[in-house]
Symmetry: C2
Subunit: 341 residues, 2 copies
């Protein structure tokens, strides 16, 4: 593969080069890249904004994260925050800073992934910034979405008696990461050994190339269900449930037997001598949705596929608890990613 150095293009030419194939999908996007600011016309609804900063070596490892997948995932992670408000993501801005270790071709790969996510979910790339860095790759994305005010769902609306649901299997991304880390270690020690990853495509893909659950938002909308609270599972079910409980000033009781665990993850957990339920509770990065609904919506939701009832919202004094299959009660504690530790 050929290698073109970054300094062969200026800053403006580089942006132009990376974004010239961008297509605008949404009528609300009146102006995209190329002016001082982009213009969005959401005159019949609210605008939602979320932002994330991803740093090489902190949030991702290029040794096993192909650049195209990374571009895709960086977009997904941000769109997921808009989805978690029960809103429809519509636009993103993407800023990157790169050291001269990266070639133009490497950045083209990154942007291929960004474009793929945009095309898959009809998202407009409307702005950004490109700069050099002293070390590694830095990606900053802001996602923008739209929703009618009365349909927006915050973390703070859960009420005692509400049912708690998740949108899919948990633990996959976490065990995908564990597997990649193990194979990386083996590869570093014995560069001749090819990593064995084929049998575990599911969990590896869940980690490297997650998707947003836009289908869930659409399904709930069609069923006329507005969750009382919602969050996307990025830090882990435990951490994210605690976020909802704290901001809603309630407690929660979760049934261990009801927590949906990814089958492949379950087998891999045993291989790693890890407890599958712990992986599902604390793993994170699955980008499934965790939400609560009013008991009055229970009949409606039972008609729908792909929702997992895992427990109930209880009084704040009862705390956030896991009821094991044997009937024991354990307090759930947050064990999300802590970047500063």
């Amino acid at each position: 593969m050929s290698r073109t150095e970054l300094n062969q293009l200026g800053e403006f030419a580089l942006i132009e080069h990376l974004t010239h194939e961008i297509v605008i999908h949404n009528d609300e996007t009146l102006l995209g890249i190329g002016d001082d600011a982009a213009i969005i016309e959401n005159t019949s609804a609210c605008t939602l904004v979320s932002t994330d900063l991803l740093i090489e070596g902190i949030h991702f490892d290029l040794m096993y994260h192909p650049l195209k997948h990374l571009g895709y995932k960086a977009v997904i992670v941000n769109l997921s925050d808009i989805i978690a408000m029960n809103a429809i993501p519509k636009q993103i801005t993407v800023s990157i800073a790169v050291s001269n270790r990266f070639s133009i071709e490497a950045l083209e790969e990154l942007y291929k992934g960004i474009k793929l996510a945009c095309d898959t979910y009809k998202i407009d790339l409307i702005g950004g910034d490109t700069s050099s860095s002293h070390k590694g790759l830095i990606i900053s994305i802001t996602a923008i979405g739209v929703q009618q005010k009365e349909k927006i769902v915050k973390r703070s609306g859960a009420k005692i008696g509400d049912y708690i649901y998740v949108s899919g299997d948990l633990g996959g991304a976490y065990l995908g990461l564990q597997l990649l880390e193990r194979e990386k270690k083996i590869y570093i020690e014995n560069p001749g050994v090819q990593p064995k990853l084929d049998e575990n495509r599911g969990i590896i893909e869940k980690f490297l190339k997650p998707e947003i659950r836009k289908d869930i938002i659409t399904m709930l909308d069609h069923a006329k269900i507005i969750p009382t609270s919602m969050i996307d599972i990025s830090d882990g079910l435990s951490s994210d449930l605690i976020h909802i409980c704290r901001q809603s000033n309630v407690g929660a009781s979760i049934e261990e037997a009801n927590v949906p665990i990814d089958q492949e993850a379950q087998l891999m957990a045993l291989e790693f001598h890890l407890d599958p339920i712990t992986c599902a509770l604390s793993g994170g990065e699955d980008y499934e949705l965790l939400f609560t609904i009013s008991p009055s919506d229970h009949e409606k939701i039972k008609q729908l596929p792909s929702f997992y009832y895992i427990g109930e919202i209880v009084s704040p004094e009862s705390g956030v608890k896991l009821k094991t299959s044997k009937g024991n009660l354990h307090e759930i504690t947050a064990q999300g990613w802590k970047h500063f530790n």
Copy 2:
């Protein structure tokens, strides 16, 4: 001064610590920090979005850029892009990544500057992200503004015959930077020597703590003038005029004698053996506005203070030219910041 290490707080606690004094100024901001996304209600106007990534050692030097000033400037640079669309900035998100070289107290200083800019210009800090970095300080800001569709001004609307204006003196920020760089060099060679900066507070402040020209937007609005095109002078008058000409498919003719040069900058240029007009044309970072108006608005604008007429929009074939005081014509070329060179 005491020093508290970053790892004494977790990520969520750090965000909480840095942002707990944040006040919401605008009714359109329905929800700020603390959920998956912020909520903005701009239902009678368009939403404008602009973003910037600032990297230590590339965009700023902490040796002479105090953290409070840096926080202030980082916000201003982004708000200025919204102003340049003839729009009113209303919200920002701020993401930072820092190495463990920085203490909590250092970040508090940075956020003091961010808050000061927000309070001065009635901006709501509605979201962000905090992470560790391997090296130095990284700041990513997204600015969001509002304006009625028919009042938004792009770069692309300049017409042949339009008058070209700037909103204030140029060259100050550039010479402020030159002076700081010189004194830094002297200080590194002789750490005992105190830098002499008092006499040149004006240009140093112009570089370290610029302001947005929100007053200009208000003034134009009151006078019922909508510029045909506009840009903020961040790369330098030459570069930014070329942006307007390219995107409007026109040429421009600028009178050297009419380009307003900062008085302090003029004296300092001579001390540095630099040509003052070159500094004013290519300096950049003054964050004044460069705009064009239709000849039919000329009578109205003549009534207003603080606008400088510098030339006219001409046919694209005539190119972008500077007419010197002696009557010679020079082609204007872009000499903005090129981070990759």
